[in-house]
Symmetry: C2
Subunit: 529 residues, 2 copies
């Protein structure tokens, strides 16, 4: 059963052994566990629904609670402390485009807001019910079929509410893969990936969801937007690029056609260590600019490297590894790089060899596949750490951006420092570490994790988070980064969007939304309120 | 000196030898040359300018004539027969964004339309002056500097009016290339490529202009739209994708930042022949879906192959080649494939080897580099054939689309047949042949050339062209293709755009244009009139 107040399945725990806890306590002090609110207590806060009845809409309190919030830290604080706030007045589970059109007609008639959602994994406040009007959460997860597979064009059409594992299973049965593996993979959906411009861990090979999304169908208050598939087109602005990142403001994506590829014959993940950040960043930039057929490059900074080794368990093995690395010049400031390759075995291995050769002048030490395979095995498990950390009295939040190469290191330092300063106001320390998860010839995503102690009550913890989020977001904006590389805008990033879109860009987006949704019933308050 | 009534430089001729002319005459009858109108005769048709004076605007008749029309066949008919029709009332050559803003203020104040242009190479009627209001052609070619080169991020910022050769020369001096080589390369500009979504011959390696365009600055009637550069972003819909393909309807692009790469160490073009279309198409699909690092795949159908060999000259060598190919199974229905590779020599040669191996099961016969190098040498010369054909009494027009793989052959046959039927109404034959110039895992562009005889007067030739264009465009729409893969919409493709965008898509585009250009002064009548 899925957790109602945290990440993932109730049966899965990410254990933190005593050494890891000691490591954290030494960095930022011992955590102070808080007592979580119970489900009944939370459910009791769901008020009476204001909706006129409709056969497609469930107004029972628990269903509304379970579709009220996402996975952002402020959403977690509401769930854990039992301060639920606004919830949708009902939840609909459409099974067809016709159902969605009925919901749109209902919403238009009664002045009800619709909040589309897939797996509810948003970390940017996409799901918050609006104030001032009743709302329905439209849960798309019953539209999950592989509707059509064109093997000649390598295109697959799915119901937009299909979860990652279900999508991959349906494709793998036919010998294909989409290759989109965000960390939320197990609980996020195709439609959600598209409307928030998601990027997966192996985007270096498979591309971002923007490159995969080839066409589809969106139901809007003004009618259906059909997006036909073409290999390429010069026929005016690309409407897909308005749907991508539209975050429910234009309508509800019901079907999506995506580019698929034959499942790879071979896949491997290798680890390489570098003596320091400068060497590592220079090496990965040269590797990615060489245009080799790799599927992943993921570079951890020194503190993330230390943290990953501390949390890994296998104390003896890690000590041996660190001894070996030390002999090869990778000591205190060492950085870990994960390199992934996928595809035909001969080509994949050749690309890996080329990449390893390019790391050598920068002191790269290849330690083989063990750590890489461990990483792959845990790729969707690490996110459970957040549950465990909470149990021990720690909050974990992350921020991410992307920036051109000359500003990557500046950005990394600025975001980490902003987090430290924000928590410092409360006399607290922050354990902040960073990796570059998506590398481009032009630059990289910069993904920073903050671990800090809980204060112990809702208001105080919300204040800490707000300070942290604001400081980190301002650091991103001030250093020329985008407010999101892979998670979207939602509510939490909306105040910073104008910095990159400009006032004319913002007003143009609003004009598009107002055109297709003149009554402003589609996910109001998000993206460009 | 650039030709005022045809393609390219006056000093360059594409000679058609007697055998080639005999080949054409045998296919569609002997051409009947027409007498071209003179420059003075054309210039005399330019009426008095209706513009209030402005220091940036030249209203002299010859300058207006030279900026009045593009390179579409109906534009040619106007120039060759001396039936100029509407021309802009003046031409401006801005040298800065400030100049462009002044022109926008002037146009807004006086109700004057602005028609942005680069090199004036449009083949879709982008440059036609609107009826009902005075207009100024805004010629951007004086904004042509490399403004900034960021070698770390591999980004170059240019004035948007830079011509292809000038852009490449400025980059090559620093060791870089953009790698965008449309056939119009010598006379088209960066800004033109962007706002019409151009694609170059080596797009398989370098990408379409959409992938190269990373940011820039557009002046609109509502202010400046700044597009910052990010390696990637999930922050809402991508405004660049509204500028791409906007065809002057939103404003005037003044600066563009594009992705560049180190100039390739090695480049080669090889020819491979196949016994028939089915084998050839299957082979190229498998090659492109293998994801090899090639820079070009260009497949000619049997009649294009025959035509290229007939026009090549070197009769003896071609006979030897055909004898050899015949022995290897490539006879009457043979198809020629050009394969390009660029980059590091070892990687390029490895990719070529892999590609050649994939062609073998389909009867591919590799004939080496000679024909490929010849193709490369003439890559920007073939377009001069149109001038020569005209001198011999023939019109040449092309149409192009892109479609998913299952419909590629159907599309090719439908477009060729549509052209034959359209000219058949006039008792004329058409020499129609096709190539796939841009290949994708998903499908291919389908590029058909029509050669047919001139009727000898403006009205009759315009009627022939209209019949041909309509029939070919309907064939494209009916078979699920985009109305343009690489040339844009302009006036000539506008009637067919709604077939792919849908009414909601069309009205959304119009809402965007109306938002940034409420007085509708920007290139009215184009794209989505």
């Amino acid at each position: 059963m899925r957790r109602w107040n945290g990440w993932g399945d109730e049966s899965i725990e990410f254990a933190l052994h005593a050494d890891a806890l000691a490591f954290l306590a030494q960095r930022i002090g011992a955590g102070r566990p808080v007592t979580d609110a119970g489900l009944a207590q939370a459910r009791a806060q769901i008020g009476a629904s204001r909706l006129p009845e409709h056969a497609l809409i469930d107004t029972s309190p628990e269903v509304r609670l379970r579709n009220a919030l996402g996975q952002s830290l402020p959403d977690w604080l509401r769930l854990r402390y039992g301060v639920i706030g606004r919830a949708p007045d009902g939840v609909a589970y459409p099974q067809s485009a016709q159902d969605v059109r009925e919901l749109l007609a209902y919403a238009t008639q009664h002045g009800v807001a619709l909040i589309p959602q897939g797996g509810g994994t948003s970390v940017a406040g996409h799901l918050t019910a609006p104030s001032g009007m009743p709302s329905v959460a439209v849960n798309m997860t019953r539209m999950r079929q592989l509707l059509y597979l064109d093997t000649e064009s390598q295109l697959a059409t799915f119901g937009a509410g299909v979860f990652g594992p279900d999508l991959e299973a349906q494709l793998r049965a036919r010998g294909y893969t989409l290759g989109h593996f965000p960390q939320s993979f197990e609980y996020s959906t195709l439609g959600g990936w598209i409307v928030t411009r998601s990027s997966g861990q192996q985007s270096l090979k498979y591309g971002r969801i923007e490159q995969m999304f080839r066409g589809g169908s969106m139901e809007t208050p003004s009618g259906t937007l059909h997006l036909p598939t073409f290999p390429a087109s010069a026929a005016g602005p690309d409407l897909r690029e308005m749907v991508l990142g539209s975050e429910g403001r234009m309508g509800i994506l019901t079907e999506a056609t995506v580019r698929v590829t034959p499942a790879p014959e071979y896949e491997a993940f290798h680890a390489v260590f570098f003596p320091n950040w400068h060497a590592a960043e220079t090496a990965v930039r040269q590797v990615v600019q060489a245009g080799l057929s790799l599927s992943m490059l993921r570079l951890s900074n020194p503190l993330e490297t230390t943290t990953m080794l501390a949390l890994a368990g296998h104390k003896k093995m890690i000590a041996l590894l660190e001894g070996y690395l030390s002999l090869r010049g990778c000591k205190g400031g060492k950085c870990m790089l994960m390199i992934g390759v996928s595809g035909r075995k001969s080509l994949a291995r050749a690309a890996l060899r080329e990449a390893l050769v390019l790391t050598l002048p920068h002191g790269g030490v290849h330690v083989g596949r063990t750590m890489g395979e461990k990483w792959k095995q845990n790729r969707f498990r690490n996110v459970y750490l957040r549950n465990t950390a909470w149990q021990h009295g720690y909050a974990i939040d992350t921020v991410e951006t992307a920036v051109d190469w000359p500003r990557v290191e500046i950005m990394m330092r600025a975001v980490e420092a902003a987090g430290a300063a924000a928590l410092g106001q409360y006399g607290e320390q922050v354990h902040a570490y960073t990796h570059l998860s998506h590398l481009y010839a032009q630059g990289a995503s910069v993904y920073t994790t903050f671990v800090y102690r809980l204060a112990g009550d809702y208001e105080a913890d919300l204040a800490r988070w707000k300070s942290l989020k604001k400081a980190a977001s301002m650091a991103i904006v001030d250093n020329g980064g985008t407010i999101s590389h892979q998670h979207g805008v939602g509510s939490d990033h909306a105040p910073y969007l104008a910095a990159e879109k400009g006032w004319l860009g913002m007003s143009t987006l609003r004009a598009v939304f107002a055109h297709v949704d003149p009554q402003q019933i589609m996910n109001p308050g998000k993206l460009a309120p």
